[in-house]
Symmetry: C2
Subunit: 495 residues, 2 copies
């Protein structure tokens, strides 16, 4: 038995435990061979990666140190006695090994892998092994099983309405913050649209990050019910209600490895929609040379996979292929995107037209799910609700209901303009690079960091005129972003 002692070290996303190198009773070296230990107290159990603490002042004999993650996940007070043992590798790893050897897994095997992953029993290397083995090939049946398994292990939202609509973009296009316009339009019309979104992982902002500039997004399932009952909608962070938590674990490995197979994408998105209780869903697939989907052939294959899985899990989908050739709107990063969204909702003359048009089109497709509307009327209705100010009013009520932010966040004060190297025309904008530069500037952690795009594809530009402005909240963030922008600006200016 060891007494737990919190250690003020954050090793997110991994649990870390610390043992002194030698403490008489057990050999830390023995544990280190496997590096993963199981820490138990009654029914509380976590797995942790072991580090050996050679500083005798930090850990007393008979103590086990727990990093911040591990301490929080175990959820017991300091000094509690726990027992430790070598963590046995999860039994479901046998399924992963079969998949590595090229076998097809059945529903039960996939369910047990996902259960172990959702309980943090897999290390990043084990998750990578599962993902790469699945990337080699995966049947549609396996994709469906993965979707269901991921939805099953997490929280679920239930709504009383028989029609619960949603809208989802597969991502990859900076500034494409249409959800925050679609949701108030649909809510103003009167359909139920409880939108749960993720925070950015490798992009400069997720819908949750941008909405958080305006309002609280950390909302309990109970409070969501209340807000939706009154406002038809909510724009909340999905992480709070733990929809498809296994997906979040998988994503933490998929993104750095840039594993983005269609099967993983469909399982990821559809599991979250299934858990969120959506019945009707518009899916936006931007297609473009630097988007996630490069061409029409790929787009059709992805569309069909969405349609197959959706039909099996009982969700009606409308898959829309959109132009993904460049960023949407002007702002990239939470504050700058929120500015664009509000400009569109307020019908500002200077609001970015591409963002407005895209959002109205998608809102129209969502409204077309309404049996009360005649076929094809959705688009006109969406445009009316925006133009009339009804959508703005719906957004303002939503912000008030979720809890407005006290302070108005502003774009970062450290600025740098990236200029055109020659006279010419903007030929192309690289979505990947723009996203990376915005991230280096500090987005999404620093809400005010990001990029303000001052011209778009097709615009004429003079040598020395600004292409975009980098905003950062610190000199270091600005320097990081400037450095990358200096070597590759992401803009292709042709004479």
């Amino acid at each position: 038995m060891l007494k737990i002692r919190p250690v003020a070290i954050d090793t997110y996303p991994e649990n870390t435990a610390f043992l002194p190198r030698s403490d008489g009773g057990y050999g830390a070296e023995q544990f280190q061979a496997l590096r993963k230990i199981e820490i138990c107290h009654a029914s509380n159990t976590i797995l942790a990666t072991l580090a050996i603490m050679d500083d005798k002042h930090l850990l007393r004999p008979g103590e086990i140190g727990l990093g911040e993650q591990a301490f929080r996940r175990l959820g017991l007070p300091a000094g509690t006695e726990v027992s430790i043992s070598q963590a046995m590798p999860p039994a479901s790893l046998d399924g992963v090994r079969r998949k590595i050897r090229g076998d097809t897994l059945d529903d039960a095997e996939i369910a047990s892998i996902i259960r172990d992953i959702s309980r943090f029993r897999y290390s990043p290397m084990e998750i990578a092994a599962f993902l790469v083995a699945c990337a080699a090939f995966m049947t549609t049946q396996e994709t469906l099983a993965l979707t269901r398994a991921m939805a099953d292990v997490g929280g679920k939202l239930k709504w009383s309405s028989p029609l619960v609509v949603d809208k989802h973009c597969i991502g990859g296009i900076p500034g494409n913050r249409t959800s925050m316009i679609v949701v108030p339009i649909v809510a103003a019309h009167g359909l139920i649209i409880p939108k749960t979104s993720s925070r950015a992982i490798t992009s400069p902002s997720g819908t949750a990050d941008t909405m958080e500039v305006l309002a609280n997004v950390d909302i309990s399932a109970e409070r969501m019910q209340e807000i939706v009952a009154k406002e038809n909608a909510v724009l909340a962070w999905g992480g709070r209600v733990k929809l498809s938590p296994a997906d979040d674990v998988l994503i933490s490995v998929e993104r750095p490895l840039r594993i983005d197979t269609f099967e993983q994408m469909v399982a990821s998105i559809m599991s979250k929609k299934l858990a969120a209780g959506s019945t009707h869903l518009v899916i936006d697939i931007p297609v473009g040379p630097t988007a996630k989907v490069r061409n029409q052939t790929e787009a059709v294959r992805l569309r069909k996979l969405f349609e197959y899985v959706a039909s099996k899990v009982g969700i009606v989908v409308d898959v829309v292929l959109t132009d993904g050739s460049q960023p949407i709107g002007r702002g990239v990063g939470p504050v700058l995107e929120a500015r664009d969204v509000m400009a569109v909702l307020r019908n500002d003359p200077g609001a970015p037209a591409d963002l407005r048009d895209r959002a109205v089109m998608l809102a129209g497709r969502v409204l077309d799910f309404d049996p009360q509307l005649k076929g094809g009327e959705g688009h006109v209705r969406a445009a009316e609700l925006l133009a009339s100010g009804a959508a703005l009013a719906a957004m303002e009520r939503l912000i008030a209901a979720q809890g407005p932010q006290g302070v108005t966040a502003r774009p970062g004060a450290f600025e740098h303009e990236v200029i055109a190297p020659i006279d010419g025309k903007v030929g192309a904008i690289d979505c990947h690079l723009i996203a990376r530069i915005a991230r280096l500037a500090g987005a999404p952690m620093e809400k005010g960091a990001g990029i303000d795009l001052l011209c778009k594809v097709g615009d004429a530009i003079g040598k020395g005129e600004p292409l975009y402005r980098i905003h950062a909240t610190s000199q270091t963030g600005l320097d990081f972003a400037r450095e990358l922008a200096a070597s590759s600006s992401g803009y292709d200016v042709t004479a």
Copy 2:
């Protein structure tokens, strides 16, 4: 610029760096998104995983903490000023992604992946991605390229003799410590056999661990040359001379995932032999139900892959398929194995016959490489050299040359006998389980820990009589091993 400060935390095998959560100049949160940073001082550069230190007493403003691994690898004194940046993912990861998508990689792509891996630029999850992608399929040309690339990045041993023999077992059979008998026999005959071995990673002992019970094995390349010039042989730890260091990194991920494709195995073994300067090599492939190779068909496929790669890299191989149905000898774990080896070399009447016979057979195959011997005479010659005491004398000279251990290590004093549950006969022994129990007892870190097998397959045994004895150097180690042995002893006793 930050001043480095050593932090007494060992996070083997990963480099870890610690930054305070907020230190004004830069945002630790910004780095954490990618979690990997590059630490630079002039030409010294390492990559490290970032942890956030929330304890203000451990790190002063302007400092960066380095864990023991990272501090050692960077090799600079405390207080040295270093700069940090986000580690860009290695460019060779693009090749890994192509492999994940099912492409074949060319020699240059494989070489650049291996170079980055050997420089610790890949995280465990990235290494897992590479290994699993390769496990899906790998051409013989890729296997060959991998072998050459791994040999190229590390140290190389050069010998003046045109005939440099070696012997290697693919592993998996506890107690199979034949190298320590083969080497002195071959040395006594007069062939050059500079044997470099690994330490155990997931087995209870490697040849280097067992030899270390008797003599120093941490020997520089220069000293190896001197010893081999005088004694024809050396029995050293390969890690010291950094043969195929990329292989060691790959193994650290392969073993926990139990990825053991033949392609990886051949590239791993042949790259080390190539770097070690071997010209002629006997490869021992034990075949058995709980061995690495389960049946004759698999064994032949593996043999052919060894033969193909060996012919291309210019090494003459003789692949021997042996009985891998149960452990060899009696002792499992460094001290107990060393005891068996010395008993065989001393011609003790009680020495394990299976270990002796296997070693003499393999030594005979090695001696058959000697053009001076008539074909097939090797076995008789090997048996003579053992019986005459010449092999023992060669071993004693080798121990003296390498540096004998001052203290004679003894079997662990904490003992437990596992008994037969019924009267009967030993029907089978599970090599995996015996290895795991020995490891839980503390082997190989605790030299005296391990298992003494008191009966073997085919032996009659009475209910309550001991099957084997567990030795541990601590009560905890004994308890761990006992616990597993109680649930699965590894012995199948049939009435």
